[in-house]
């Protein structure tokens, strides 16, 4: 029987090794897997590379993870926000490495990782500092930058509904990076507000097919992200 459900947040994040690359969903405070991040903090893995659009706000979730000092590097598009107090301190102190990637390129690089591609040519960032040192190429009269795939060892994702095969739906703009990160990680770990029986999600309405998901844990009342 194929059953991806696990009984606890602790079990959900078990086996995350030091040095892992972890993709963490969310944009602003929507779609952030708050409970999984706190379980990861409790689990204790260190020397992590985190790929996430923002670098945390307030003091909880991603900021709380950063403040443990266990994140070596963050790959993101928009680390500096009004609420990114923890990241700002670490960055100013030289205690965290930052790889800044344009948001669409970040998302597309993970998609390439998930889709088995070796890289792609994008017009984004051509002629800017963020293309410095990158290979460029003229194709049909337009200049493009070569970008390489990003793969995660793990992904932490927040979904609305799941079944035991790992099929997922999301709620509104909390979907954001979830479907792409799920594809791009060797082990995709999902917290879902609700786990339904097989067949409880209309096949036409599945957003992430279960093949991209490896563990599902129910978190019926998730906490909001970015709290003080």
């Amino acid at each position: 029987m194929l059953d991806k459900r696990v009984n606890s947040l602790e079990e959900a994040v078990s086996g995350i090794q030091d040095g892992s690359v972890i993709l963490i969903g969310g944009f602003g405070n929507a779609g952030i897997p708050v409970e999984l991040i706190h379980a990861l903090i409790d689990q204790g893995a260190r020397d992590l590379t985190i790929v996430s659009n923002n670098a945390g706000a307030g003091r909880t979730d991603l900021s709380a993870l950063l403040s443990t000092g266990r994140v070596r590097k963050i790959v993101c598009s928009f680390p500096k926000t009004s609420g990114s107090v923890v990241f700002d301190e670490l960055y100013a102190a030289g205690k965290i490495e930052l790889e800044l990637v344009p948001q669409g390129t970040l998302s597309e690089r993970m998609r390439a990782g998930g889709a088995g591609l070796g890289g792609f040519y994008t017009p984004t960032a051509v002629g800017t500092d963020l293309a410095n040192g990158k290979e460029t190429r003229m194709i049909d009269g337009r200049e493009y930058v070569l970008e390489k795939p990003i793969k995660g060892d793990f992904a932490l994702i927040k979904a609305e509904r799941a079944d035991r095969w790992g099929n997922l739906t999301y709620r509104l703009a909390a979907r954001n990076f979830g479907p792409t990160m799920a594809m791009a990680a060797a082990c995709t770990i999902v917290q879902a507000r609700e786990i339904v029986d097989l067949g409880g999600i209309d096949p036409d309405q599945v957003i992430t097919p279960g093949i991209f998901v490896h563990r599902v844990v129910a978190v019926p009342n998730p906490q909001p992200a970015g709290q003080a």
């Binding site: 680390p79 960055y91 344009p102 597309e108 017009p123 960032a125 954001n176």
Partner: protein, 222 residues
């Protein structure tokens, strides 16, 4: 004596030019105000990089939904006919030339239409780019809304940007608090100037050579 436009008046002026039925992405800051001033008989579809097409106005207080925010992380609503997609598809819309218009803020615009709007090059502050480069490189047309000069009076329209570029040769039109300027193939063409300011005065506040359109008009903030 000339009176420069307020931020609201700049937004209002740009709003007048958004065509009925356009797909539009509004950048953070001044461009966000534009939605308030689009004539009610036009149906404009607003896109947000975080996977929303068909964004409506901010919700009434107390009705905010944590899962419905825009690129500025402000609460929004959905119009009937809205669609949700994931981030990669949202950026396919942006990069792939599907948006009719991106209205963006700017630190500097060059006479070639180069845009600098993501970084002041300050090494102390961590850099943050978000979706600015994708949007600038990908939208069918890019309009920049900004003050004509900095607080200290330095021109923001320049021969060559000194701030780090967001994208080269992408800006089609500039709406400032003093003028409306097209970025044409052969340089900057002034379409409108605020009443009371003459071309020479505008040129004096601009770091790149301007030309005055034959059919130029007074810029009315409405």
């Amino acid at each position: 004596m000339s009176q420069v436009l307020t931020r609201e008046q700049v937004a209002r002026r740009a709003a007048r030019d958004i065509p009925d039925g356009a797909y539009v992405n509004l950048g953070i800051g001044l461009p966000t105000l534009v939605a308030n001033f689009v004539p009610h008989d036009r149906e404009v579809i607003y896109q947000s990089e975080n996977g929303i097409l068909g964004m409506g106005p901010a919700p009434p207080k107390g009705e905010e939904d944590l899962d419905l925010i825009n690129a500025s992380k402000h609460f929004v609503t959905l119009l009937p006919g809205a669609a949700i997609c994931h981030h990669t598809d949202a950026f396919a819309m942006m990069r792939g030339g599907h948006l009719d218009l991106a209205l963006l803020g700017g630190f500097q615009v060059s006479s070639d239409g180069d845009l600098a709007n993501w970084s002041t090059g300050d090494e102390k502050s961590p850099p943050a780019v978000g979706g600015a480069m994708d949007l600038a490189a990908g939208a069918k047309a890019v309009w920049v809304l900004m003050e004509h000069v900095t607080r200290s009076g330095a021109p923001k329209i320049v021969e060559r940007c000194t701030y780090p570029l967001t994208a080269p040769s992408v800006v089609d039109r500039i709406y400032t608090n003093m003028a409306v300027i097209d970025v044409a193939d052969d340089g900057l063409l002034v379409r409108e100037i605020i009443p009371g300011m003459d071309f020479e005065a505008l040129q004096a506040r601009t770091g790149a050579r301007l030309r005055l359109a034959n059919d130029w008009r007074p810029l009315n903030g409405v």
